[in-house]
């Protein structure tokens, strides 16, 4: 498997599991953490059905710009969006580390999010989660909150808002 330097950095240095906060016993949000442009993003596990390797994405001419196309998930056609585009980042080619996170927004809505790489599942203590304070009005729509946890900043994605 070939890693770009950036990705290798992320995997090797930034994200070593640290035990310092394990004494915290309060409620926590279990999140899948993934990487986009070297930042860590998290989505609550309860919203995620599965994480898939990238297979053939069939393009749908005429669809919105952020839609990469559709994939076949065991007989169900699922739309795949480019998460980079959703966060106003430049598009990037699919690599071996790229994954599609299948999100169940609600019973009828299932969406795949293409991300640079998926890192791990982590319980983020709720007392570490705080709303994003920003002066930029339009940027925060897809972001629910941020968490400062174990020396990392985790950006929690608001998938309900993102796909409503």
């Amino acid at each position: 498997m070939e890693l770009t330097d950036q990705q290798a950095d992320v995997l090797n240095t930034d994200f070593i599991i640290q035990e310092e906060d394990s004494k915290y016993a309060g409620p926590s949000a279990r999140c899948v953490l993934f990487n986009l442009e070297n930042e860590i993003y998290g989505i609550q596990v309860k919203k995620i059905r599965e994480v898939l390797r990238v297979s053939n994405i069939r393009n749908v001419p005429g669809a919105a710009y952020n839609v990469l196309g559709v994939i076949n998930v065991r007989g169900v056609i699922v739309t795949v969006v480019d998460t980079r585009v959703m966060f106003n980042m430049p598009q990037q080619d699919v690599t071996d580390l790229s994954r599609i996170i299948i999100i169940e927004v609600d019973e009828e809505k299932t969406v795949g999010m293409l991300v640079d790489c998926v890192m791990e599942v982590k319980d983020v203590p709720e007392n570490k989660i705080e709303p994003l304070s920003t002066t930029k009005e339009n940027a925060s729509r897809n972001i629910q909150a941020i968490a400062h946890y174990e020396d990392n900043v985790i950006i929690l994605v608001d998938v309900d808002n993102m796909f409503s």
Partner: protein, 694 residues
């Protein structure tokens, strides 16, 4: 309200409503059909039973009265004529509305329109001969004690019908009973106090009261007894009460209690149920037999397997067994393949297993498809009523014949076809069939006929609406088209008759000089056409002036499987519904013209617009050479267009899957499918494609 019971009730009630809808109209043709009358009576009774359980008072009130009326009718006391039918049908509409509201989650209902209740009561009491039904109830209410109408025991006003009966009240009733009984020649019946709990056990007092009543009535066994609780005339008044008699009384008591669900009706509130009219036959079980004849299960069993709630299907267990069996086979084949994978045995074994797999999956697919199939009767069932009401309103005499009601088709189609068919049938009744006098003048029978038929034709269903009315005049249609500015005179005159008939399906084309509120606003036929096209179906119109019109609709058996033509641009494949494909030929630039900025291809003296699909589907293509391209001629609505594609890959039957989230608004696609090699192909929606290019 218990939601689970409610849901059960709704499914059952909706089925009963569907049946009643049909039966009530049938009844007008054969008003003395005993089986039919019993079935209708049972239908109302069963709905009432369920409503009583759920405490939906307005529903109970109406059902109860309808049931009363039908009891009279089946006993021959009242004739089911058009006037009675109108009232009953109105009551039926109220019932079906209430059930629909329940289905929509409504739990509080306004009180019933007292006029309707009174009309029903009036029919029941035999006073509703008046053509002005508004006045009838007043009469009925004002003379409840008239000679012909039997007296009834009733409670004093203001008595709480739900409270326990006080001794005084009971005494009062007993006195009334005695008073009524002695001098008069008019019959009266046993009656329980209205406060009695119909579900509770009978108390000793109630029982005693009934026994007393029985004994006293027993002295005049021959008295006609149209009202009140009664025992069979032949019952031995002094003997012990038999179980049958006791049951009969219990039944009567339950029914009676329901009668006083209404509060603001005139003094005749506790309206007793007629169980038996003066009957010479001394069969003691007779009175009980009738009300007891409608337990829930009987009615439910009689109901054909059809579902009502949009999201559920009732499936014959036989079909499920078939599926289970096939799934079992599938598991066996899988096991065999797994074994074969382990010990890489010879090709023949594997190919046998795969062959087996092929068979099992094909059969399984067919079986699962069948679970979605429903008889077309579900759509047809509503038409007798539609035609009856419309014909009555227009003063026409029309008979509707239904053919091939048992034909099965996909549930989605059943639902999707309902509206277009209603429109077409209304058209036939309104515009097709002439007024009786006109028909007679033209040497036709006064009674017009509309035939609604369904039959399976290969993998299609053919639906037809045929009337023996006045037919359509192609010349009138041509003239209209010119008047409406749809085409010039020359073009109009060139249309053959068939094309002229098809004009009626163009938007904004209406030939009715007078617009009625029934049809003929010119919004109809083009909508019908679009709906049918959306179902991958086609419409064909045939008409002979003076003899009638036949409109045929052809739709695929199922919406789930679609025969398609696979086309491709580089490696992306697309599926075009095969029903729309007319012909395919090689693209030849020499055979095209650019007319008004649009490429057209010449085909047998016609120019057909060409849409280069690659402009939309493959815009980045650097392909400049149109060599090897194909033109696929498709029909969309009333027009033909040519689609230019890179390759044609042959036919494939595909399973339609919805496009993913957020893509349903992207025009031009009907869905997606997975092809034999596991890739995704997008299914083109031709009307959408045309919109995209216009």
């Amino acid at each position: 309200m218990d939601e689970e019971i409610l849901q059960d009730f709704l499914v059952e009630a909706s089925e009963l409503v569907d049946q009643l809808d049909e039966q009530l109209v049938d009844l007008e043709h054969s008003p003395t059909d005993g089986d039919l009358l019993n079935a209708v009576f049972r239908g109302f009774h069963t709905i009432k039973g369920g409503a009583g359980f759920l405490g939906v008072t307005p529903l109970i009130e109406v059902c109860h009265r309808a049931e009363n009326v039908f009891d009279k009718i089946r006993n021959g006391d009242v004739e089911y004529d058009a006037q009675v039918a109108d009232v009953i049908l109105r009551a039926f509409d109220v019932i079906s509305d209430l059930i629909e509201q329940l289905n929509d989650g409504e739990r509080e209902f306004p009180e019933n329109d007292p006029a309707l209740l009174n009309e029903l009561d009036a029919i029941f009491k035999g006073t509703a001969v008046a053509p002005e039904p508004e006045t009838a109830p007043v009469e009925a209410a004002s003379e409840p004690q008239s000679e012909n109408v039997s007296e009834q025991l009733h409670l004093a006003d203001g008595v709480d019908p739900d409270g326990d009966m006080t001794d005084d009240e009971f005494e009062a009733l007993l006195n009334q009973r005695d008073g009524v009984q002695d001098p008069s020649s008019s019959p009266k019946g046993l009656q329980l106090d209205p406060g009695a709990d119909p579900d509770g056990d009978m108390t000793d007092d109630e029982f005693e009261a009934l026994l007393d009543q029985r004994d006293s009535l027993g002295d005049q066994p021959a008295a006609s007894n149209p009202n009140g609780l009664s025992l069979a005339p032949g019952a031995d008044p002094d003997g012990d009460m038999t179980d049958d008699e006791f049951d009969a009384l219990l039944d009567q008591r339950d029914l009676t209690q329901l009668a006083e669900a209404q509060e603001d009706t005139p003094p005749t509130i506790p309206e007793p149920i007629v169980v038996e009219k003066a009957a010479p036959e001394p069969a003691p079980q007779q009175p009980a037999a009738k009300p007891k004849a409608q337990p829930k299960s009987t009615a439910a069993k009689k109901a054909p397997a059809k579902a009502n709630a949009e999201s559920t299907v009732r499936v014959d267990t036989k079909r499920l067994d078939d599926i289970m069996n096939l799934v079992g086979e599938l598991v066996l084949v899988r096991n065999r393949l797994l074994t074969l994978r382990g010990n890489s045995s010879d090709i023949e074994d594997i190919s046998n297993a795969v062959g087996n797999l092929d068979h099992v999956t094909t059969d399984l697919q067919a079986s699962v498809m069948k679970t979605r199939m429903q008889p077309v009767k579900k759509v047809f069932g509503r038409f007798p009523r539609v035609v009856r009401d419309l014909a009555r309103k227009l003063g026409k005499d029309i008979e509707l014949e239904l053919l091939g009601e048992e034909t099965d088709l996909d549930k989605n189609l059943v639902e999707a076809l309902a509206d277009p068919l209603v429109h077409l049938v209304r058209n036939s009744v309104d515009h097709g069939v002439e007024m009786p006098d006109e028909r007679e003048a033209n040497g036709k029978p006064r009674k017009g006929t509309v035939i609604l038929g369904a039959e399976q034709e290969g993998d299609h269903i053919l639906l037809s609406i045929t009337d023996d009315g006045k037919g359509m005049d192609p010349d009138v249609l041509r003239r209209k088209a010119v008047e409406k500015g749809m085409m010039d005179e020359v073009a109009a005159n060139q249309l053959d008759d068939k094309s002229a008939f098809e004009l009626i399906m163009s938007a904004g084309f209406s030939t009715a000089d007078q617009i009625s509120d029934i049809s003929g606003r010119g919004v109809g036929m083009d909508v019908v056409k679009n709906m049918i096209t959306k179902l991958n179906g086609s419409i064909d119109i045939n008409s002979v002036l003076g003899e009638g019109t036949r409109i045929s609709i052809k739709v695929p058996l199922t919406l789930a499987i679609l025969p398609t033509l696979m086309v491709a641009f580089e490696k992306d494949s697309y599926a075009i519904p095969l029903t729309s494909v007319q012909e395919i030929f090689d693209f030849d630039i020499n055979n095209t013209n650019k007319i008004d900025g649009m490429m057209m291809v010449r085909l047998r003296e016609r120019s057909i617009p060409l849409y280069f699909l690659s402009e939309w589907l493959n815009p980045q293509s650097d392909k400049t050479d149109s060599k090897g391209d194909k033109v696929v001629i498709v029909s969309v609505g009333n027009q033909r267009v040519g689609l230019v594609v890179d390759q044609v890959n042959g036919q494939e039957e595909v399973v339609i899957k919805p496009l993913g989230t957020g893509l349903k608004d992207v025009g031009g696609y009907a869905g997606a499918t997975i092809t034999g090699n596991g890739n995704i192909a997008l299914i083109l929606d031709l009307p959408g494609v045309v919109d995209r290019f216009q």
